[in-house]
Amino acid sequence: MELRINQQTYQVEADADTPLLWVIRDDLGLTGTKYGCGLAQCGACSVLVDGNVVRACVTPVAGVVGREVTTIEAIEADAVGKRVVAAWVEHQVAQCGYCQSGQVMAATALLKHTPKPSTEQIDAAMVNLCRCGTYNAIHAAVHELAQGENA
């Protein structure tokens, strides 16, 4: 089947029910997207599909044919994604880093839909787990981003 990932077209051979995460990591070698739980519980595998954040471990690959997938590798090609990564660097959010590609995807999707989210909207969107407990740094970075371009 034909997949569009990071503005590129890939031909992959996979069963229809193969999780998108397997295809991204194992078949295409895009290993920036992480495997945490495989059960939609942690968010480490978050990617964007048509600008919405989805958990790639529970996304059958057949469901993204004809849609535009964005992974962490290309997130800085997106204007919002670029701002998110810059804020992440500024706040030195990452500790071990394992969950952070997913956190960046979640924050990017939020800000793409809601450029100035309220605290409730941020809390509702930023629900990925972080074993290192970087929640305070994530919180600070997203709140700064929520104040807009010139904050």
């Binding site: 999780p19 519980q41 529970v58 059958p60 409730e120």
Partner: protein
């Protein structure tokens, strides 16, 4: 004078009592008639035909344990009176049924009577197996005698205390509730319908879970002549939904092809097997021939629904839930990745919750149970499922589960209604999380 009249009267009274007691003793220990003689024997074609009948009948689900010899028995079944265990039905002469003649085997399978007249507990679905044809019983016997390795595994005695463990009253129960004749073709119906009726009522014993039970734990109907037949029932912490044409809680919205697809692959655009149905799928329905699955679908599509029981027909309604509504936030963070923010799931891999039986039925046991305990692995054509429902019992409190289910059971046009935290707590207490490893029961 008075004394001798008394003695004479007592004598006259005692006589009928003795006769009645004698008749009762004969009735409850009698070995029923069987069409088979002791010399009926087996060949290879018959053995493999019997293996297929064993698949239709799902013998392995109760009579085998994972990692143990096939059909060596052991599955524990809780009853209100105590625990009983499925027995060794291999051809081992000491512990199994190796000493059974075909006639003995027939009496056990179709009438629930072991050699010597001992009555089986109706946990063995002989009220359904009674409908098996003579040919299928003969084939089944050939399979267990010649196709299954004898296993010297001792049976586990039941923990039911005396006098409740006396078996003879079951004979009276049988007289009231268990049929004694094989399925009879209905000449006014076509062969496909008849084949479907035979499998559903007989070997498939669908009614054991899907038909509601009466006070004596009897299935309220054993065929399409009774309205309660396959109308949905609560059993072992799961609600087995209606298999009739009920729009909401039954198969009203399913086509025949979708019923076939569900039984063959474990999934379709409406639902994915879960709960006890996973065992029925893993061990039985996926092995049925396409013709037999079509027959089942034809028969089930002919069972009318009951709108008064089923409620107003469900229709999808877009739900813009307030993100701070109780349960809506939990849904968004825990459920929506798979089941969709719109409740539509990712058919046919992750089932929709919009319009799902578990979200429409007043009985909420299945919704609670699967949320607490997750789903068992579905193994279709030897391949374990890529996606399964995780258990949330460690992550969500009774109140959180009640809230998220109350949300989902009232969103998107669903009308199952609110779930109370107390009901979650009760099920939490007597259920266990589903195993995350695939369980495969072999038959040979």
């Amino acid at each position: 004078m008075n004394n001798s009249r008394f003695a004479r009267t007592a004598g006259w009274l005692a006589l009928p009592c003795l006769v009645a007691a004698g008749l009762l003793a004969w009735y409850v220990t009698r070995e029923p008639a069987t069409p088979f003689s002791a010399s009926d024997s087996a060949n290879a074609a018959l053995v493999s035909r019997g293996e297929y009948v064993a698949r239709l009948s799902d013998c392995v689900a109760c009579h085998s344990l994972p990692g143990k010899a096939p059909f060596a028995g052991g599955l524990e079944m809780a009853t209100p009176l105590g625990a009983i265990h499925a027995t060794n039905i291999t051809a081992d002469r000491e512990h199994g049924i190796g000493a059974y003649s075909l006639a003995d085997f027939d009496r056990a399978v179709r009438q629930g009577v072991a050699p010597g007249g001992r009555r089986l507990y109706p946990a063995m679905p002989y009220p359904s197996y009674a409908k098996l044809s003579d040919d299928d019983v003969r084939a089944l016997y050939a399979f267990f005698m010649k196709g299954v390795q004898p296993a010297a595994e001792a049976n586990i005695p039941s923990s039911i205390p005396w006098p409740l463990n006396l078996r003879w009253p079951i004979a009276l129960w049988n007289g009231l509730f268990a049929p004694t004749t094989a399925y009879a073709q209905k000449p006014d119906q076509d062969p496909l319908w008849n084949r479907g009726a035979y499998i559903v009522q007989g070997p498939g014993h669908c009614g054991s879970c899907h038909t509601p039970r009466g006070l004596a734990f009897n299935e309220k109907a054993l065929d399409e002549s009774g309205a309660p037949f396959l109308a949905g029932a609560l059993l072992d912490g799961w609600y087995a939904p209606s298999l009739r044409q009920d729009h909401n809680t039954g198969l009203g919205r399913w086509s025949e092809a979708e019923i076939v697809q569900f039984l063959k692959t474990g999934r379709n655009r409406h639902a994915v097997v879960y709960g006890s149905m996973t065992e029925a799928f893993n061990n039985s329905t996926q092995f049925m021939s396409d013709d037999d699955l079509s027959a089942i679908a034809r028969y089930l599509k002919a069972l009318p629904g009951e709108p008064r029981r089923d409620g107003a027909p469900w229709q999808y309604q877009a739900t813009a839930a307030a993100p701070d509504a109780p349960g809506a936030h939990t849904y968004a963070t825990r459920c929506a990745s798979c089941h969709g923010a719109d409740g539509k799931g990712q058919a046919e891999w992750m089932p929709p919750l919009a319009g799902a039986t578990s979200m429409l039925a007043a009985e909420n046991a299945s919704a609670i149970n699967i949320t607490l305990n997750g789903s068992q692995r579905i193994v279709a054509a030897g391949v374990p499922d890529a996606y399964r429902m995780p258990a949330f019992r460690e992550q969500l409190s009774d109140r959180e589960i009640a809230e998220v289910l109350s949300f989902a059971r009232s969103a998107w046009g669903n009308q199952g209604g609110a779930v109370q935290a107390k009901a979650v707590g009760e099920l939490r207490g007597h259920t266990d999380p589903a195993s995350s490893s695939p369980i495969i029961l072999h038959m040979r």
